[in-house]
Structure formats: C-alpha cells, structure tokens
Symmetry: D2
C-alpha cells in the first residue's frame, strides 16, 4: 500500500453478526461480501474486520456515489474521510455504548480517578498509598513496576515483584491496577496481573508494542509522547484499535516546549480538541504535565473544567524520599483535600468525582 498523499478513505461500517456472535465484530459474511466490491471500485482495500470496518483509500477526486455503497447488503453506513482515524474518529462512534475498564464505564458522568506512586517501592509504601487513595475516591491504582528512566544509573523499578505488590494492594483496597508495560517482554506479565495496560510517553510511537496492545485483551491507556502531536496520539490509538482492541483511553501528560519553569507544558488545548476528534476517553496527567506538586491541583481542576474524563495523579507518602519523580507527587496526607477541591469543579461541568 503506497503512501497516498491527499488520499481519502471510503469507510464502510458493516452489519453486526447474528445473535450469538461477538457484538464487537463485524459479520464475517458482510466483510467477505464487501471486499471484492471495494477492490473492484479501485480502492486499495483495508479491512478492520474485528471492529466491523471495511474501507479503502485512494487518491484523487474521482466522483463517488456514497448512496450506492449504502444500499449494498451488509453495509450499515458509508462515508468519506480524509484522515486515518477511521476507528478512533468521532464518525465511527455512532452511538456505540462505550466500554468498561477496570470497573469504570466510559461515556458516563463519572470521572475516573487514577492515583498511586510514580514507582512501586515497597509493600508498605504501596499499601499505605492504596488505602489512602481508595478512601479519597480513586478507582485505579497506578505505580511503575519497570520504570523508563533517562539514565541507566537511576532506579529502574522493582519489576515483576512490583506487579504482585500492585495486584495485592489493589485487591485489598478495591482498586483496579493500571501499570506500564515498557516493552514486549514486560507486556505479558503486565497483561496478566494488571487490569489496564499503560503505554508510556517514551513508547508513544513504539509501533510493534502498539500492535501487541491490539491483541492484549485488556484496556489500554495510551500516554501522549512528550514530543508527539495530537495527530500522532490519535494514530497511536488507531494502531491499537485496528489491531483488534476496542478499549483505548488516551492521556494528555504534557509536551516539551521552550518554557523551562515547568518540566513539561500541559497542553490543555488537547483536552477539548481530542474530545472533538476521537470518541475515546481523555485522561489528564497533571503530575507529568507540570513536574511540580504545587501546580498539580490547579491543573487538575483545569483539566476537569476543560472536559477531561479522568485524572491520573502521583501520590507518595513522603515525596522528598521518593525513588523517582518525587517533585511532582502530591503528599498522601494532602490527597483527600486535593480531591475534595476537585469535586465542585467536576459538578460545575456536569461530572461526578
């Protein structure tokens, strides 16, 4: 399939399977019926069968009779699209019901609160944090098992043992676990023990890993690369969707800019823009997005006000002694107060926290 600059997509949303079939899949017969016709019409064919899509792309401005496509058997809807967010884009949603991830259901008023330490450091640390954040309203427990660290001589995480600690702490406190798979090797273990698999900012365009996340069988939280455009985030989500996993959340976590007073620049514009372009839940990470605990609460409020569907916060019992990123962690003793301060803002925009 060649790069077709300026090419357009014909997107076909095909019939769902008969009762008893997987409602997330298109009907196999509809796919089989559509494909040759797409090819005959001169479109380089693409079939995202597991997700009920069939489509194609071609260059040029040749006239096109969409109604004719819509009348084809097995075709529910048909449209033309310029960019490659076939499955991630708003047009695809079509009233679909959202999905469940780690006990949280997308598409409703409830905001998702994710909290936990940057890195899992010990059973005691994690248990203390899990208890505290659960009490304050968090749904998911975060915590790095393998850490992506700039220097090889920085703390690299406790690895597999951290996964067990996360699972254990979450279970005891009624939380779900989200943690990062920093590579293909770690993905298996993460997918087994975590409820949601996180892809980190430095892997935001690790395409082999994105493909594997398409087959991982767990919801996926994609962080924006700090050097990546929103389009690149959308296309990373499209990778996961196109490889078979419909449960994708995207996360704005700050980008690199020339401003040096903060570690990153939280791109607040990204929140409404993503909501206007993709049908995926948008999570905000003001810890990484600011790099300073003193700014986290204000930016968390801002993200909710801008329409974010959830927040990911870093919490530590003693930030000054954290093994990584202590500067951006909210002290555990302040966490409940921070969450309380967010609730009226959530209510002001019709959400619940």
């Amino acid at each position: 399939m060649a790069d077709l600059d300026g090419a357009r997509w014909l997107v076909l949303d095909l019939d769902r399977p008969p009762p008893g079939g997987d409602p997330l899949l298109a009907d196999a017969r509809a796919i089989a019926a559509a494909e040759p016709r797409v090819l005959d019409a001169g479109w380089a064919c693409y079939l995202a069968a597991p997700l009920r899509a069939a489509g194609g792309r071609r260059a040029g401005d040749a006239p096109l009779d969409l109604d004719q496509w819509r009348r084809r058997p097995g075709v529910r809807r048909a449209w033309i699209q310029d960019d490659d967010t076939i499955l991630a884009g708003l047009p695809w949603r079509d009233g679909k019901a959202g999905f469940e991830a780690g006990g949280w259901r997308t598409g409703r008023d409830d905001l998702l609160l994710i909290a936990g330490p940057c890195a899992v450091e010990s059973r005691e640390q994690l248990d203390e944090v899990a208890a505290g954040v659960a009490a304050a309203g968090a749904r998911w427990l975060r915590g790095g098992a393998w850490k992506a660290r700039t220097s090889p001589y920085d703390f690299q995480g406790l690895g597999a043992r951290a996964l067990e600690l996360l699972r254990d702490a979450a279970d005891r406190h009624g939380l779900a676990v989200v943690t990062e798979a920093i590579g293909s090797d770690e993905l298996r273990a993460v997918a087994e023990l975590a409820d949601v698999v996180q892809l980190g900012s430095r892997n935001a365009q690790n395409f082999p890993l994105l493909r594997k996340l398409g087959a991982v069988g767990k919801p996926v939280l994609l962080k924006r690369g700090f050097g990546c455009t929103l389009r690149e985030l959308e296309y990373a989500a499209e990778y996961v969707l196109a490889h078979g996993n419909p449960r994708v959340l995207v996360c704005e976590r700050g980008i690199r800019s020339f401003e040096s007073a903060t570690r990153f620049t939280f791109d607040i514009n990204a929140v409404p823009l993503l909501k206007q372009r993709v049908h995926l839940p948008v999570i905000a990470d003001p810890a990484h997005g600011t790099g300073q605990a003193a700014l986290v609460e204000a930016v968390a409020r801002a993200a909710i006000a801008a329409g974010a569907d959830g927040l990911m916060l870093e919490v530590h019992p003693d930030p000054a002694r954290a093994l990584s990123d202590g500067r951006q962690a909210v002290p555990l003793r302040d966490f409940a107060r921070v969450v309380e301060s967010l609730r009226p803002v959530a209510a002001a925009v019709g959400r619940r926290l």
Copy 2:
C-alpha cells in the same frame, strides 16, 4: 551596573510617607537615608523610589545581618532575593490592597471579563458587540485600533478613528476600554482615550515601550510573548513597575510549540505558576491561546478553574467576515451562553463572574 551572575538582592521596603503624601511612594527621607548605607555595605545600589523600594545587588555569599538592616530607621522590611522580580514578586506585596483598573478592583472574588472584536472594523460592528458583551457581563471592551499583522498587506486597523469608536461604544454601554498601543507613537493616543493600555505579544520585550508604560498613568495589561518564558513576562512587568507604574496585569495567551493542530499552545501551567510567583492579576486569553473558536469555551473554563483572575475573549457578530482572526472569535450570538457556562466553574473555585 554589571551583570552579576548569581548575584542576590538586598531588598528594603521603606517607610511610607507622612499623611498627605502619595501612599504609593516611599518617604523621600527614608530613601535618602538608606542609600548611602546600602552603598557603604558594598551593594551596587538600586532605588525604586516611587514604589517604596530601596535595594542593591551583589555577588558572592558574604554573610549578611538582615536584622541589622531591619532596625535601621525608615526600613519597614528587609529580605534577600535571588531573582529580579523585586516589585513584581510575592514578597513585595505585603498585604497591599491591590488596585483599581477600568472599574475592576484586583484581589477580590470578582473575575474580570474582557470581550470585544479582534479589530475595530466599524461603528456598527463595535456598537453591536459592546451592547452584547455588556449585557452578558463583560466589564472591559477590547478591540484593536492599530493591529500587529504578520504581513504588510493584511488589514492594519483603523487607527486613531478606532480609538474614538471604542471610547464611544464603551461609554454608551458602561464598559471600560482596553486596547493595544503597538508603538510609542500610538501610546499617547491610547493612553488618552483608553482606560487600560495593552501591550501586545509581539511587543512583549519592547523595552523602550515598557519603560514608557511605567510613566503612562493608566493600568497596563501585558501579554506574554508567544516566544517568551514566564520569567521574561515577570521581568517585563518588573520593567513597568520599576519605571513607576504599580498597576500591571499579566496575560497568558499561548506559546509557540511543535503542536500544529492549534495555532498556539495555551500554557495552563502558567496560571498557577504566576499566581505563586507574582502578586499581579493573571488574565487568560483563550482566543489567541487556541486559535479556534471551538476550543475557546473549554479553555476559558480551564483557565478559571486554574485560578485566573480574568478572561479576555474575542467576539464578532459574524466571524466568517472578520477582517482579522475570525477563526478564534466567538460569534456574538453565542457569547451570553458561553459566559453562562463559565459561571458555575467560577463559583466552584470561589469566584464570581
């Protein structure tokens, strides 16, 4: 005065003048008394007399007896400071009462709402907008008289005539006028007819103009340069303060980043950071900060939630026909609804709009 890398400031807040004197000025005798002692102590002297400051700067780590300075006659407070935000920084505030600008008083719960067209285009356009934004709760009317345009062939503004139209429309609708002085020549006219003088993003480091704003006798709204750090914005404010004008507001309006989906990246981190570093009101401009009308409302909510003291919005009766920046203007017919949507967020953070 040489550049002293790593130098520190001795800041002296001197006695206020006796009754009858200008309460914004330090007592002349206190200044006269402090100066030789500062020099004697080896400090390169600096006296910001009109604003009650006397201080100095020197390199090195020589021990310093601050208590001794505090006991000096005429000295109310004394401290050491690393950066150059002597008059803009939080330490300087000391419970001072804020100021009044265009009928709005800083330091209270009321949010400042500024609205109007990007450019003044005609009496009819301006009057229609002024009536609409006043009804919706705006306090200040904005509108460009001379426009800073990238190309010499773009509409450059109506100039002096626009100032009169602004004054007239504002007076009829009970609004104050804020408008940009794009150069020294235009400053005189703006200062005469406007209630607040705006310095534009492209003049954010126009130091001769900043100095003149120190003597302009009207409050000044400083927009951040889209290529400037927050420190540079703070120092631009310090220029105005140090040249004698205590009434300065600063405005975040988006910075340049690699993200191309939006015209600028609104730096939401800037809002709490500025509030933690300077005692000046912080205004947010989500129109320039996004460049897209469809994002303005969400980012306006975010700015309020993050602690902004006011908003500047662009409003146009017919954005598609605007002579400049139509894409980021809220249609006038939607403006009241947008403001309504902001009120609950303001209330959620203890502010009124």
Copy 3:
C-alpha cells in the same frame, strides 16, 4: 482590505522610469496607468510604487489571462503568487543587481564579516576590538548602544555615547558601523551615525518600527525573532521593502526550542531555505544561535557551508568581564585564528572571506 484566506496576488512589475529618474522606482505614469485596470479586474489594489510593483489580491479561482496583463503598456512582467513576499521573494529579483551596504556589495562571492562586542562598554574596549577585528578581515563593527535586556536591572547600554564611540572606532579602523535601534526614539540617532541599522530579535515583529525602517535611508539588518517562523521573518522584510527601503539583509540567530543544553537552537535549515525563497542576503549569528563561545566556530563554519552570505560574531577582549552575554563572545585574542579556520570552508563553497 479584508483578510483573504487563500487569496492570490497578481503581481505586476512595471516599467522603469525614463533616464534621469530613480532606477529603484517604477515610472509614475506606469503606476497611474495600471491601477485602475487592476481595480476594474476585481483585484483589491495594492501599489508598491517606490519599488516598481503594482498588484492586487483576490480570493477564489477565477481564470486569469496573464498574457493580457503582460501586453499592457508599462507592464514588464506579470505573474501570480500565493504568499505575500511580493518584493522579498525570488520572482521579484529578475536579475537585479543587489545593493551596497556599509561598503559590502551583495550578490558577489565576498562574505560579509561583522564583529564586535555585544555591548559598547568603553572607548578602550571598543577601540581594541575594532583594531583586532579589522585586522582579521571584518568589514562591519557591531556593538550595542542601547541593549535589550530581559531584566530592568541589567546593564542597559551606554546609549547615545556608545554611538559616537562606535562611529569613531569604526572610522579609525576602516570599518562600517551596524548597531541596533531598539525603538523609534533611538532610530533617529542610529540612522544618523550608523551605516547599517539593525533590528533586534525582540523587535522582529515591531511593525511600527519596521515601517520606519522603510523610510530610514540606510540598509537594514533584520534579525529573526527567536519565537518567529521563517515566514514571519520574510514578511518583516516585506514590511521594510514595501515601505520603501530596498536594502534589507536578514539574519538567522537561533530559535527557542526544548533543548536546554544551548541557549538557542541555531536553525541551519533556515539558511538554504531563505536563499531559496527570498533574494535578500542571509547573515548568520552563531553567537546568539548557540549562546556558547565554544560552539561559535563550528556553527560559523556550518553557516558558511550552508550558503550564508555573512557572519555576525561577538568578540570581547575579556569575555569573563563582559557587561552582557560574555558567555557567547569569542575572546579577541582568538578571533584571527577563528577567521582563519573559516576561510577554507568559504573557499570550498566558492566564497571569499
């Protein structure tokens, strides 16, 4: 004149005046003859009379008979152009001969070497530098009289006295003077005493000043704003050209990026890109573009190799004691060696230094 998104220009290059007229101006009768026809044809008219241009802009894709325009009396050439670099763009050049500035002639193999201190500090400092750089091959002496400094408490330059020192030192050592006019007030004095007027990076979009540079009667060196795109630099040049001054040089001096190891990021791509888009000499400033003396020589070589027409370097007898920007100044004792190292690179690309 409205903003016409996607509008195009009809550019007419008109007849030159009869013998005895100013060869830089179009013939007045040709202008008078063209204008009504441009208007009649539905173009919003624009006349850059002093520079022999007449043109217009209109939206839409209406068909256009260029040959018909070319046959009109008084019209030498006619073409369609999308962007606003009418006078700065390559199509306008048409074999025109370049110009002379400070004793250097553009469009030839000779590279222009500009050197001097960041700020003029004293007669002795300046004379020592002028002697040294002249001996090493510099043509223009640079040096700040009024300095644009981030903090109001940094050294602001010696002002008018520095201008006299510059003139004097340059005259004694056979150099031309280039120095920055940081505002309209300073422009008069600079234009009187300097050979070339520099516009600084922080004034790169100071449009009133750009307009005045159109009438200044001296060549102008425009520095790129560190937050400005190349298009904005080109349009800044267009401002000066359209306001009557054909002698403009543009200078790449580094942009802001997320990289913090250097003060700015020298945009080497800008050098060939500008050469391919505008017919103006392109000067490189590796001192500001790196912020580190240790990188200046390598980046100076790079700029020459990439096609720059000249270099601006900062030189100081004792950088550690410089009153501004000492870190990026080449020590005077090393300057001749640095220039020697540049000569073979210049020769390798067919230039002379």
Copy 4:
C-alpha cells in the same frame, strides 16, 4: 539505588586484563578488589565490569582524597564526575583507539557516508540504489525493513524479506548494511543480517531495547529522539555502553520546533556539542533533519563543516514514487553530484569523503 539529586560519581578506570584477556574488559581481579572499597567508602556501588569501569555515586560534598584512590592497586585513573555519562563522556576515552563498524574505523579523518532508500521496496529498487551509492563513495547501505509509520495504514515495510535484499545488495556492491530494529522481536533478525543495528528516533528512549543493544554484538547507531534533549541522547548511549556494547554511534536527525516550514529543525549545535561531551562518532541525517530534498545538500555540507563524522542520506531512484518519505530523498541520478559537492568542505575541515 535511589535518585540522588546533585549526586556525584567516583569513577575508577581499572587495570586492563593480562595478555590473552579481552582488551575491552577490565581485569576481573581489579574489579573484585575495588568493589568492597568503594562500598566501604560510602558510595552506592556501580560496576561496569565489561567496560573496565568501577565507580559509585553519592550525594553531598564530603571531602574526597582522589589521590588515595589512584594509588590503589588495579586502579589506573580516578576522577569525580557530575553527570551520568561515565562511559560515554570524554574523560573515559583516555586515548582509546576507537572501533571498527561496518568496515569504517572511527577516530580517523575518513568520513562515513551512509546512503540508501528510506524503505526497501523491491530487489530492483535496492540494487539500483546500492550500485549508485557505492560508486559515489558510500560505505554503508541503509534501508528500512520494518518502518515506523505514524499511521497504521501507511506502508509498514517488507520486513524480513527486506533484510535479505539489503544483505544481498550490500554484498554485491561492497557495502555494509545498517538498518533499524523497530522492536525486540525484529532485533534478532537485524542483528544477524545487518552489520550495524540502527535504533530509530521513535525508540530513542525504548530502554528495554537499549539494554538489548548492549548485548547485541554489533555496532549500534542511535538516532536522537525528535523530542529528546542531547542529554537524553547521551544517556541512551550510556545505556548501551553500560550493558556491554562499546561500539555506539550517535546521530543528530532534527528535532521538533515551532518552525513549520521544515518538517524538523536540524540541530546543528548538537554536532560540536556532542563532540565536546562524548567520545562517540557523531553522524548527521539531513534528510530527516530537513524533510526536504532541496535542503539536504546544504545541511549536509553544514554538518561536515561543524565536525560531523559521517552523513546518512536518503536516496531513491524516483522520489515521487517512493513508498515513504519521498520528499526528503535525493534522486539517485543527483547523488554523485551531491557527494562531489561535499568533498571540498570535508577537505576544508581536514576530513576525507
């Protein structure tokens, strides 16, 4: 090992092994002898045994007797270092002889020329390119087997078959092969068939992959992440070195900035800065660094002039039909001419191409 802000390193360069041992390894007895002493002295121990390093890191300013360490048996050199570039930094080099990679020897005057298509598309395409670039002086053949593409619907590369085509074409034309391993799965195949393994810009902080590159047994070419600082590139190299692979080359390929006229901003400053901070060969990639074929030659010249040790260029027989990144590919028919234009610049800086 905790994060030690402001911590310093004690670096020990240990004795080489007795004759017959691997000259790249430290003597095992020297390592065994040093370790307890380092621990006893309160340093968190770090031993980079395969590369002759032993060291440690600790916070604070405790006085330190370096001479005492130097007198210890088995210790050749000892020093203190602030950053984590222990093995990558200049101090480590100590006259070491460089290394051989794909038939090219580092540390000499010869420049390394790498050329080939962005993606391997067919046997014919590759053979034509390989023949052409070999004739023009290239040493390594580049070409993507698996491509990292932003959209899942873009051409993703021919995969394993492309590796065989690369090996075959390179062998027939006397070239070495460098190609990217986009993930751990692909690494095995790449390491088997290629002479040099490339890590792509989007994997610049894929730490699991960096660790594996430490054990890959082939030289590694690390591209800078387009959102990564130079320090991050240096630490990526340190990962590979610390995990046992001493043969690392680093590549500047452009960063993201606000400038939109070019796809990326080639950071020319990076070239001399890297040469001053690490002892690794620095390669320049002006194809990605500009994104425009028309700029490649000028920026390639610039990179050589700035001190780059090699160039990576994209070449295609018919760029308009390339399956990826055709815009930045030099047409094959122009390649020999481009190389010829680089030779005088190389000679001007004492290099050979």
